[in-house]
Each structure stands twice: as C-alpha cells, then as structure tokens.
Symmetry: C2
Subunit: 363 residues, 2 copies
Amino acid sequence: MTALLEAFNQTTYPVTGHSKYTVQILLEAFRDMDGSVESDVYGNGKLIEDFQRKMADFLGKESAVFFPSGTMAQQIALRIWSDELGNKKVAYHPLCHLEIHEKDGLKELHHLEPILLADKERLITLDDVVNMKENIFCLLLELPQREIGGQLPSFAELEAIASHCRERGIKLHLDGARLFEILPYYGKSAAEVCALFDSVYVSFYKGIGGIAGAILAGGEAFTEQSKIWKRRHGGDLISLYPYIVSSDYYFEQRVGKMGHYHESAVELAKLYNECAGLKTNPEFPVSNMFHVHAAIPKDKLEPIFLALYKETGIGLTRYINVVNDSLSAYEVSLGDRFDKIPKAQLKEAFDLLKQKLQAIVAE
Amino acid sequence: MTALLEAFNQTTYPVTGHSKYTVQILLEAFRDMDGSVESDVYGNGKLIEDFQRKMADFLGKESAVFFPSGTMAQQIALRIWSDELGNKKVAYHPLCHLEIHEKDGLKELHHLEPILLADKERLITLDDVVNMKENIFCLLLELPQREIGGQLPSFAELEAIASHCRERGIKLHLDGARLFEILPYYGKSAAEVCALFDSVYVSFYKGIGGIAGAILAGGEAFTEQSKIWKRRHGGDLISLYPYIVSSDYYFEQRVGKMGHYHESAVELAKLYNECAGLKTNPEFPVSNMFHVHAAIPKDKLEPIFLALYKETGIGLTRYINVVNDSLSAYEVSLGDRFDKIPKAQLKEAFDLLKQKLQAIVAE
C-alpha cells in the first residue's frame, strides 16, 4: 500500500467514492435477503430473469443479459455484430476500454480489427465518423469518455452520429459503463439515450457502487446469441446471484442520486480550478467524475497531499499518476461520501491547499 | 419446474446434494465475516492471494489463480500450453466438458483442435494414448470421468500415462472438477495426484458445495500467463470475493468429508443395484457420485418416483433423462443430505421401489 493511499484511508473525510471497498458492500446488500430465495442456475431462474427484464425495460431494449463483467459483455457484443455483418473492423476511441485495459482480448480471442478514431485528447466527432475511410461493422461510443475526464458530445451530435451510422448500416454500440451518471446532464431517460444504439452495456460498480457485474441489452436475437458467447467465455456461471442481488440493491439506492453526484462534481471541480497549478478536465463536469491535471510533478504534489490529509482530515485522492517530469494527474469520482464532509471544512482544506500550492508554483 | 423436481423439493429427505440451491449458501458463508475485510481488486489483495497460496500448497503446485469458472480456467490452460508448444491439437475424452458443455468455446475462441480419445462408454486408457497417431500438445484427463458415472483409471495406469506424456513432451492437464471427491478412493493426497500433471483445475461448487469458482494451478510462469488470459476473457473481475470467501468456507467444512461421501455413494449404489431394472455406473462408486441407468423408459419411471416420493418422503432424484425409447438415466451426487435420512426409512423406500419396479419389469 502506498503512503498516499494509507493516509487517504486514515482521513475522517475521504472525498471520492461511496465507501471503503470492503466485504461490507456485500453484507449490506444481503442484510434483509431471505435465505430461501432460489439461486439463478446457469442464466435461468426468477432471480436473474427478473433483473434482466427490469434492466431491459429501464434501458428501453427488448432484452437484457447479466454478465460478470463489461469486458466480457462488450467483446461479445462486437463479435456478434461482426459475425452478422461479415466484417472485422470496429471503430472506437484510442482510449477505449477494449484498447487499453483488456490485454487485447478483442484481438486475441475474436480477431477483430479496431480503427482508432479521433485522438487521445478529445472526443470522437460527427466529422470523424463521416470522414472515416474504412468500412466498419460497428462504431463503439463510450459515454462519458472516461479516460479524458468523462467528457460527452452534445446530445444533438450524438443523434447525428447515430443517424449517420443507421444510414450506412453501421451498428452503434454504447459503452455505458457510466451511463446512469450522465443522464441528469443530458436531461434524458436511459431509454432515450439507448434508443440511439443497437446494443448497450451498463455497469453496476461505478456510480451504482455494487460489487461487480454488467448488463448487455439489445434486441432478443442479439441477446440470445450473447448467452451462447457468455457460455463460451466461461461467464455463464452456475450462480451469478452475489452480483445480481448487489447490483439491484445499489441500483435502487443510487440511480436516483446521479443528479446529486453530478452537482457534487461541479462543486468540487470549482474548488480545484481555483488552485494555482491544478485544473480539472472537463472544467465543468457532466457526470460524477472528472480528472485533475497538475502542472506539478508527482514527487512534489504527493508530500503536499500527505500533509494536507493529516492537517485537515480530508482525503482528496488515493493516488497520483505521473504524466511526465513536470505533470501529474488523477481521477475523481463522487458518490455518497461527499455529502458527509462539512462544507466549511472542505473550504478550509482547499484554502490550505491553495497556500501550499502557491508556495510550490512560485518556486 | 417439472413435476418431478417439484415433488423432490417437497420431500422430507432429498437424497442428493448438500442443501437446496438458495441464497442461504451465501448467507451462511458470510455469517461471521467481518465487514471491514478488504475486497480483492482485480486479482490482487490479501483475500485472493491468501486463498490462491492455500490452494497452491494443497495441490502441491508452485502457484494458483482463482477463476470465476472452470470453463474459463481450462480453455486458458490449454491455450497457454498450445501457444508454448506451437501446436493446436489437444486430446481428451469424447464426453469432456470442453467438448459437450461449453458451446465450442475452445474452438470458437482459441481455435484449438480436439482429438477425441477412447469412446463415449469408457475411460481413456494407456493404450489409447500410446497408440494415438496425432501429434498433440496436451492430454486432458478428467478425474473422475463425470459423464460415465464418475469412473477412474487405476493410479498405476494414471502414472503410466503421465510418464508416457512426460517422455513425449506432451503436457498433461487435469480436469479436477471432482478431484477432492476421489482422493479417499485413491488413498492419495491432492498433491500426490497433481504431481502427475503440468496444470490442474479444481472446482468449489461440486462436492465442496460453494457458490461458484475454480482454481487453476501450475508453475509460476504458467499461472502468470493465465492471469493475462483471465483479463482477456473478462474474468478478472474487480471483486471475486463472494466466490472466494464461500469457496474457502465450504472447502474447510467439507474437504475432510469426502471419504464419508464416498461411503454414502457405495451404500446407496448397493441399494439401487438390488432393484430390478436399475443399475449404477460404476457398480462400485469411487467418489461421491454415480449414474443410475434404468431399463425402463422415462415416462414409466417418472410416475413411480412421483408416487414413491409422496409415500415415503424420500426424494431420489430431481430429474430423469431420456436415453431412448426403452432406457432412462440420471446422475446421483451425495453430500450432507444423505446423513439426515433415517436408515430404516431409506431401506423401506427402496423396498417399496423394488416392488413398484417389479410390477413394471414384469409387464
């Protein structure tokens, strides 16, 4: 465990997330659970079928399938569309989860060929899609684009991209790992956003704060095929109920709080942007998340944070990434913890941070 | 739900398994769990690392990795050995799990080419392996061979097969879904059996009775590669602790009872083999399991069982499979429930079954 994480864990008021990542998350979800409830069995049974139906309805799709992970769900979605259209080229952002976090599973297991659209610093635009020379079977859009701080296209641009894909017979897949988190900003229901997409993945352990698990939704023919691939991937477990029960429990608790988490992110980003040497990306968050970019190297920023946590009891981040010799960065996602921090104490902590940073930036 | 399953569930003394397959299995495993225990995080952390170390030691292997499923673990094991030896041919039994229960994941995801050894009715023998013409990278042996009632080669034959493979540079992989269950019959430790194999998979929801989950064990270089493939398959979940905690809990409870479960199976098989028209495969079980073969079609056997369950309160099986117009069959696995049945009542139920069957067989 790093010194910063240890210090963060010891603060009275950790700022990010919902809670510590402990077994308590499971214990709470199962506290009032009746032991006689029957397990799902290899994808069948009331427990899994009810949750799948509920999520299909919420997302406005014909059908939905519960998966242990989004990694599995999304590779499978792309493979199904690839096989259907007889084409191996899929377009996505250069910082797409499938490109940077999955050890090339999409290529190694499914032999698909990604076309990287846009560049690493910005969102995919309608122009990128229209001007693409390659003949692709699918465009994958991640809303919000996590690796650039959780940015979003305008809903109008999204609609234009969707129209273009529909006209060209290109499938549109939504990486909705943080879909619930952006609905308040768009002012749309999940179904209104998902209507633009042929297939949709959502996650239950980001803003929802469950243990793990994902839903893949789309038309019935699509989801039926996804069950076969789920078996092939080794994801059709005899029992997925530990993840399903906790996903449902925290979905009920938190899906209505996403607007509040968004407001928290806007409030906190403003405090960050008043600090010399720090800025958030995006400047005005559109979900519960943003990135903090520091024009200060990690080895100078870390001691400041260590001291700040100790002096104020407020923990801003559990880690800092090195960007290069002079820049560092980290991600912030807000949840239930933010409300527990007395506002005056948070303000004082940022005032102290400003002083400490000014001393460094002035050096 | 079928009528037979419903009747089985209503009996006072269901014969097979440990308990109903309900959420209670999780609640019991977590009852005394401290909520402050930290989750595993993407394969790291004390909770997962301790269990992996414990299982590596139990199996006598250098290293072990926890997987959500055996389907995932075994495909990955074969892929690693295939890549290492630059050969795509793997030999296994025609009723191997990978051949009949995984929707061809091994072929569709990994493009490996199975060579089916032996025939469906019997075990793979040393002769089968020695006389094989194909050049294979790996032989997969399932101990016991589940789909033929849980049969086992002699330990001497197993050793001879292992020597032959070692001499030829063929990797030997153990499908040990029911490895714990056969150790009393062999009179060997898990490590003594596993020493014959390059890689080993074991399961935690068969005789152990956990929720789900598997361990893949072998040398460190092998298990390190398996972690990369686990990520690719979508099995490297942020948290696997619901399965790890329950696997460990029921492993501790039941690994020492496997000899007793074996004795139960021998006792029950004897009762079955005294019934006209029924016989067990194998005649003398070598683990907690066997198959019952009936020279009676399902549509005649089912009403007999329905009546028997009602009259005696003893449930023999939850399902019957059609073999053909005159034969039917089902699998029996024994666990904690068998001990709860008063012996006299069990004997009476079988006496009644004999009478009912004689009436049918005499027709």
